[in-house]
């Protein structure tokens, strides 16, 4: 009796182990090394970065226009109130650049609105805290998300010092114009976090991010690691600041003041 039970448990154990190994064996059978490559049309970088010229892009209206483009390209739901979802939005100086306040700020700077979005940090706290690698840093510096894997714990939202992340508290499709969706891009589902992705899907086919394209040159975009890139040229010439430098996150979004 005792032996029987023991051998049964053993057998059950082997069966369970087999189940765990099977998918991997299948993957190996599929060819081992992945038969994939980058799209030759795509544009690549070591660290994508954005420089926003706030002398040119500084009205709520102007930024809302870009946000509208962004949100319609990515099927971002429109929800009013504290459970809103947004990838790109305008806000005032003292909300945008906390800890860099100045009571006697130049009128022009004070009056401006600033375009806020995910900073695609070089040291992203959201990536550090995510328990499933649902948010990760790509080789090109973009902090992207795999919505399939997100469990909705919202640790990344607590971790982000810039308030760049939104959670789908309810069903996002209830807040989308289903007839006007971008059918080339998915929506999200309830219970996952989302944010700006620097338009990875557009870069992959050689297009610049939607907001950059729509900004009439007020947003520069390029490789921070390439000294000859457009962003490096602009950064050499103009005075720029970043949001919350003290957080040590090294944001990749710069603001020309």
């Amino acid at each position: 009796m005792k032996n029987n039970r023991r051998s049964f448990i053993k057998l059950a154990g082997i069966a369970a182990a087999g189940l765990a190994i099977a998918p991997k064996a299948m993957a190996a059978a599929m060819g081992g090394s992945a038969p994939i490559k980058e799209d030759p049309k795509g544009i690549t970088a070591k660290q994508w970065a954005m420089v926003i010229d706030t002398t040119r892009l500084n009205t709520a209206q102007g930024i809302e226009k870009l946000a509208k483009v962004c949100h319609s390209v990515h099927n971002v739901p429109f929800i009013e109130g504290k459970q809103e979802v947004k990838w790109l939005w305008p806000d005032i100086y003292e909300h945008s650049f906390t800890e860099q306040e100045n009571p006697y700020l130049a009128d022009a700077v004070k009056k401006r609105q600033y375009a806020l979005l995910c900073n695609h940090c070089q040291n992203p706290p959201c990536v550090r805290v995510c328990p499933t690698k649902a948010t990760y840093k790509r080789p090109d510096g973009i902090v992207d998300m795999d919505y399939h894997r997100c469990i909705g714990c919202r640790y990344c939202m607590a971790g982000c010092p810039y308030g760049s992340r939104s959670f789908n508290w309810g069903e996002p499709r209830d807040h989308l114009d289903l007839a006007a969706l971008n059918k080339e891009y998915p929506t999200r589902m309830r219970g996952v976090v989302e944010k700006c992705n620097f338009c990875v899907e557009r870069l992959a086919v050689g297009k610049l991010p939607a907001c950059v394209e729509a900004s009439n040159g007020a947003i520069h975009f390029g490789d921070l690691n390439d000294p000859n890139s457009e962003v490096r040229a602009v950064l050499r010439e103009r005075f720029t600041i970043r949001r919350k430098p003290s957080a040590g996150t090294e944001p990749s979004v710069y603001y020309i003041i």
Binding site: G152, A158, F167
Partner: protein
């Protein structure tokens, strides 16, 4: 041993039925949340964790607190705690279960929960929290059950269990440290970004946890023949007193650091909580209630006469529990998210549905405690250990009740 939990009075079954009704009502709200999403809660983009996670945090403290009975027993051979140990361990089991449930109800995609294991990410503190909480649950189940079973068979505790017991004592500290690390490693949340947060969590756990345990034990005494040894109670109350003093001392350190340094980021959450900020004063009353109740409980605890007054003790402990709950179960979380990354204030208050779901989790915890304590007190009764005597003392107290006397404060029979 489970059969002990099946044999009970009408009152016992009535209480279980009552808890099941609460669980059923709460699960309706939870179903609603599963169908409609977390939009039924009061959380939002700015305060993205709410009542669930704050209850989780508070209950990790309760889980860790059992060690304040277990540690003196095993590390200091303090034997008056001998018959209390099992209750500390069983309370930890219930607390761990509630913690895990509060995480489950909080996440947006509970069906993908196992991604935390499938895509294990050791750089995430949440991964470690999953490890330590489940580990602590397992350790307490193992140690508690094996010890009680050995007791029941009148056998010594098996030797192989020793390493597990010692591990569980160290492990208790780890669970609350890791839970504090969840918070204190985030660069943008100044109220949490403090090296002393783990120490604060432990101090607050070691006063509030044993206080809850003592309150539950006092209720248990009312319905069973079990009676806590007086020495165990007075020792535990002393531990509670020191832990509460340390807890408030640590809080004072936070206040000093924030205001003497005059660092805006460190001051603002405290200003919001205790004075209001940008015209938002939602929590001011509650936070001062916390300070007032903390002061009252410390006064009652440090005065020997009041501390040893067993009639007053439940009130003292109750006040302490409320004070620490406001601090850690509410203020800590809301103060961490406010001011927001934009230096604005987004008030948060749980919705009725959120509270119903929380009620469900608490009722499940109460059910687990009821069943486990029923078993533990049943075994103690079989063995005649730590039983109530006519005079009001425990059989473990050094009291020779042949005089038909009544012992109120101390065992007075010997002199009588």
């Amino acid at each position: 041993m489970l059969e002990i939990a099946l044999k009970g009075s009408k009152r016992y079954y009535g209480w279980i039925a009552f808890l099941l009704v609460l669980i059923a009502i709460g699960s309706m709200a939870w179903l609603d949340q599963i169908v409609n999403g977390l939009k039924i809660t009061g959380m939002g983009r700015d305060v993205s964790w709410g009542f669930y996670i704050s209850q989780f945090t508070y209950l990790v403290g309760l889980a860790a607190s059992g060690v304040m009975i277990v540690l003196p027993n095993y590390f200091h051979n303090y034997k008056p705690n001998k018959h209390m140990v099992i209750f500390g361990e069983f309370m930890a089991i219930a607390a761990c279960i509630m913690c895990l449930l509060f995480i489950v109800v909080d996440i947006g995609q509970p069906t993908r929960m196992l991604n935390v294991i499938l895509h294990a990410t050791p750089n995430s503190i949440l991964f470690w929290d999953m490890i330590v909480l489940n580990g602590y649950l397992g350790l307490n189940l193992l140690v508690g059950w094996v010890c009680l079973q050995a007791d029941r068979a009148r056998l010594p505790h098996p030797k192989w269990l020793k390493p597990f017991i010692y591990t569980s004592i160290i492990w208790a500290f780890s669970i609350h440290t890791v839970t504090a690390f969840l918070y204190q490693g985030l660069p943008g949340r100044h109220y949490w970004l403090t090296a002393i947060l783990a120490a604060r969590f432990l101090a607050s756990a070691f006063c509030s946890g044993p206080a809850i345990l003592l309150l539950v034990m006092m209720a248990t005494e009312k319905f069973t023949t079990f009676k806590m040894p007086r020495k165990a109670v007075t020792t535990l109350v002393k531990i509670i007193m020191y832990a509460m003093c340390v807890n408030m001392f640590f809080f004072g350190l936070e206040v000093f650091t924030a205001f003497y340094s005059n660092m805006p980021g460190h001051m603002h959450p405290l200003v919001y909580l205790f004075a209001g900020y940008h015209g938002h004063t939602e929590l001011v009353g509650l936070m001062w209630t916390f300070i007032a109740l903390a002061a009252v409980s410390i006064t009652l605890l440090v005065t020997p006469k009041l501390r040893n007054n067993l009639k007053l003790l439940p009130w003292t402990l109750g006040i302490l529990v409320i004070a620490t709950w406001i601090d850690k179960g509410l203020g800590l979380l809301i103060g961490g998210f406010n001011p927001t990354p934009f230096h604005t204030i987004t008030p948060y208050w749980p919705t009725a549905k959120e509270l119903l779901v929380s009620m469900m989790v608490y009722a499940i915890g109460a059910l687990v405690v009821t069943i486990l304590f029923k078993i533990a007190t049943g075994v103690k009764e079989e063995l005649g250990q730590s039983q109530a005597m006519a005079c009001g003392c425990s059989t473990e107290d050094e009291c020779d009740c042949t005089h038909g006397c009544v012992c109120t404060e101390e065992c007075t029979c010997k002199e009588a």
